[in-house]
């Protein structure tokens, strides 16, 4: 399988504080990778650096996406190239309509690919179908982006956006946090519906709970900004049983 994403010895600092200390990872097309690790291990930083969030200092290493240097691209260029970040804390944007924003994002993507923009009517049909799939109420159509949404609604809205934008690489940052079991199942069903040979998924999570519903091909444990251990999904179960400490000890 050809690699969609290749991270090679990536070192990143926030201010003077090193957060990623040489991460190397290869994600093949069609694969689902889970990045696990204790709090402060650098999981979220990795997700944000891949999406292009400003405020990080890259001291060395490289990230290649479909043969291109991902780190040289602006955040919006990465999005148009097919990188999607599902936020752990999706922001509220009062005044901006949820669906209209989604349409603007969708059309920005189509424009980039040389496809004609879709009109409001056609787009609404698409959104309605996906919302039904995510069991979201029609009232979400008229609401501002994430404004007044509960934690679970925000996460569902992230997955809805992902289903419509159909990225090549979906990075889901702690999408399971704050979800009750029913919401988790719906979110997992959304993610699973996108699994396929043409895209890859990077799940960033603290708990293995979500991996019961979205079964990963590979599991990596991030400790102190480095991948300390990799394995298949049984590694996640072992982490659930034994905690993270033994991996740190082993790595040391």
């Amino acid at each position: 399988m050809s690699a969609l994403l290749t991270i090679d010895n990536l070192k990143v600092a926030v201010g003077d504080k090193p957060v990623l200390n040489g991460v190397s990872l290869e994600v093949g097309l069609g694969e689902v990778h889970a990045i696990m690790g204790p709090n402060g291990s650098g999981k979220s930083t990795l997700a944000h650096v891949l999406a292009g969030r400003p405020g990080y200092t890259l001291s060395s290493g490289s990230v290649t996406f479909e043969g291109r240097d991902l780190l040289s691209l602006a955040p919006e260029e990465r999005a148009r190239a097919g990188v999607f970040l599902g936020f752990q804390y999706p922001v509220e944007i009062p005044g901006v309509n949820n669906v209209y924003l989604l349409k603007a994002a969708f059309n920005a993507l189509r424009k980039h690919r040389g496809l004609p923009e879709v009109d409001a009517f056609e787009f609404l049909g698409l959104v309605r179908a996906k919302m039904k799939f995510m069991r979201m109420d029609e009232s979400f159509l008229g609401r501002a982006v994430n404004e007044g949404f509960s934690g679970g609604e925000k996460k569902r809205n992230e997955i809805l956006q992902m289903l419509i934008l159909e990225p090549k690489l979906a990075i889901l940052d702690e999408t399971d946090s704050g979800l009750d079991i029913d919401a988790l199942k719906i979110v997992a069903q959304g993610v699973n519906s996108l699994r396929g040979a043409e895209r890859s998924i990077l799940l960033v999570t603290h708990y293995q709970r979500m991996l019961d519903y979205i079964v990963p091909d590979f599991v990596h444990v991030l400790v102190n900004g480095r991948i300390a251990k990799s394995g298949d999904r049984t590694l996640a179960l072992e982490l659930e049983r034994r905690g993270y400490e033994w991996v740190s000890d082993e790595a040391a």
């Binding site: 999406a51 292009g52 969030r53 400003p54 602006a74 955040p75 919006e76 990465r78 999005a79 148009r80 999607f84 970040l85 936020f87 999706p90 922001v91 944007i93 009062p94 005044g95 901006v96 309509n97 209209y100 924003l101 989604l102 603007a104 994002a105 920005a108 993507l109 980039h112 956006q161 934008l165």
Partner: protein
């Protein structure tokens, strides 16, 4: 105020007095106003409530209005903003009624206003200057009708400040139980270096209601000063939408007195300043009676080197239990050299009140911007979209579609946002 300025006002008044019509303001009142100005002076930068205003134009302005000697205006209706459907228009050019540019026949005016108190907290000193020099006035009276009265008063400034100032004047009395929808617009045509000093008095009797849309779209070098006093009777309501877009220096002073039980007021104001503009507003809401309600919402954007200031004061008097007052002031810095000054003030002299206030000023939120970029929007679009969203709650409340879209078009030019982006709101 410098003595020189007071002397100049007195001299210019003496020279112009014979031409100033008594039916607008009686000679006795004009003279009282000039005397009061000589005693108290005009506000200056050292006055607490005026420190953010740009009053530099006062030094070189000629105070007397153009008068009969001025060349006849040759404006055509085509040069004016498009009329709003359903609204009778009265047009005033340099403060004087222009029948050929007006749709409605106007009633004869007469000086019916009460003498001003000077040194009042509402600060009416510029209104005194209007009293002294006003050449005409728009008078609006309401009668009982099934539908609200809909009137637009358009003030067009035509002459330059160095030649003459103009004094728009509006006197509104709304009788008990009647309704008025009033649009008031200020524009410059021809020269854009006008000096405009507006005075407005609104008296709303028991159970009556007024919705007042105010749009300031003066030219790029104009100075616009405004003093508005509204008295709201029992169970009456006064709603004002203030949109400040134009002028180099604009200052609005607004005093709303909730004088009867159950009186209510809402003020929704927005300012969008760019370049070297200053938009300053001072609002005093006085809860003088029981069970009165007030709401102030202000959204201001300052780009370039502009300054936007809003000083909103709520005064709850001892005799006003059951007062409900809300205030939300927000400023957006859209330029590295821009300035926002927000000042919420609350004075409460009674128990049993519900008052809330909030004031925040800052730049666009980086994490919100990143969210939009991560969805593929380009940085320019993302920033413009957030500026529209910032103004959205105030713009949405302008419920006259023609007026709203004209304001949106003007806003798009002012804060450099693409108009079609508002479709995303």
């Amino acid at each position: 105020m410098s003595t020189a300025l007071a002397t100049r006002i007195a001299e210019e008044y003496a020279a112009a007095a014979a031409e100033l019509p008594a039916r607008v303001v009686s000679a006795a009142r004009r003279e009282l106003a000039v005397q009061a100005l000589c005693t108290h002076g005009l506000p200056g930068m050292r006055d607490e409530n005026w420190k953010y205003a740009n009053l530099r134009a006062l030094e070189r302005v000629r105070f007397a209005p153009p008068g009969a000697a001025a060349p006849a205006n040759r404006l055509s209706t085509a040069a004016l903003p498009v009329a709003i459907a359903g609204y009778d228009r009265q047009t005033f050019v340099d403060g004087v009624f222009a029948p050929e540019l007006s749709g409605a026949v106007r009633h004869k005016t007469q000086d019916g206003a009460a003498a001003r108190e000077c040194g009042h907290p509402g600060d009416a000193r510029f209104a005194l200057l209007n009293d002294a020099f006003a050449a005409d006035a728009a008078q609006i009276r309401t009668v009982h009708e099934e539908r609200p009265r809909c009137i637009e008063v358009l003030f067009v400034a035509h002459s330059e400040a160095t030649r003459a100032a103009s004094y728009p004047r509006l006197d509104v009395k709304v009788s008990a139980g009647t309704r008025l929808n009033l649009i008031e617009r200020h524009v410059s045509i021809g020269s854009d270096a006008n000096f405009v000093n507006t005075a407005i008095e609104i008296d709303i009797a028991k159970g009556a209601s007024v919705t007042h849309f105010r749009v300031q779209q003066m030219g790029a070098r104009a100075t616009w000063i405004d003093t508005l006093t509204a008295t709201v009777g029992s169970d009456a309501s006064y709603q004002q939408h203030l949109v400040q877009l134009g002028a180099l220096a604009a200052r609005s002073t607004c005093h709303v007195r909730l004088a009867g039980a159950g009186a209510a007021t809402r003020l929704h104001a927005l300012a969008a300043a760019a370049g070297q503009q200053t938009h300053d507003a001072y609002v005093l809401i006085e809860h003088a009676c029981a069970h009165t309600r007030s709401e102030q919402i202000f959204r201001g954007i300052a780009a370039g080197r502009a300054r936007v200031a809003f000083n909103g004061k709520v005064n709850v008097c001892a005799g006003a239990p059951g007062t409900d007052s809300r205030q939300s002031l927000r400023g957006l810095l859209a330029g590295p050299e821009a300035e926002i000054d927000l000042r919420p003030q609350l004075q409460i002299h009674t128990d049993d009140v519900r008052c809330s206030h909030g004031a925040t000023a800052g730049k666009l939120d980086e994490s919100v911007l990143f969210y939009l970029l991560s969805r593929g929007l380009d940085p320019d679009t993302a920033q413009q979209l957030l500026k529209w969203a910032f103004l959205a709650d105030v713009v949405a409340k302008i419920d006259i579609p023609d007026l709203k879209s004209s304001i949106e078009r003007a806003l798009a030019g002012r804060i450099e946002v693409a108009e079609d982006l508002k479709e995303l709101l």
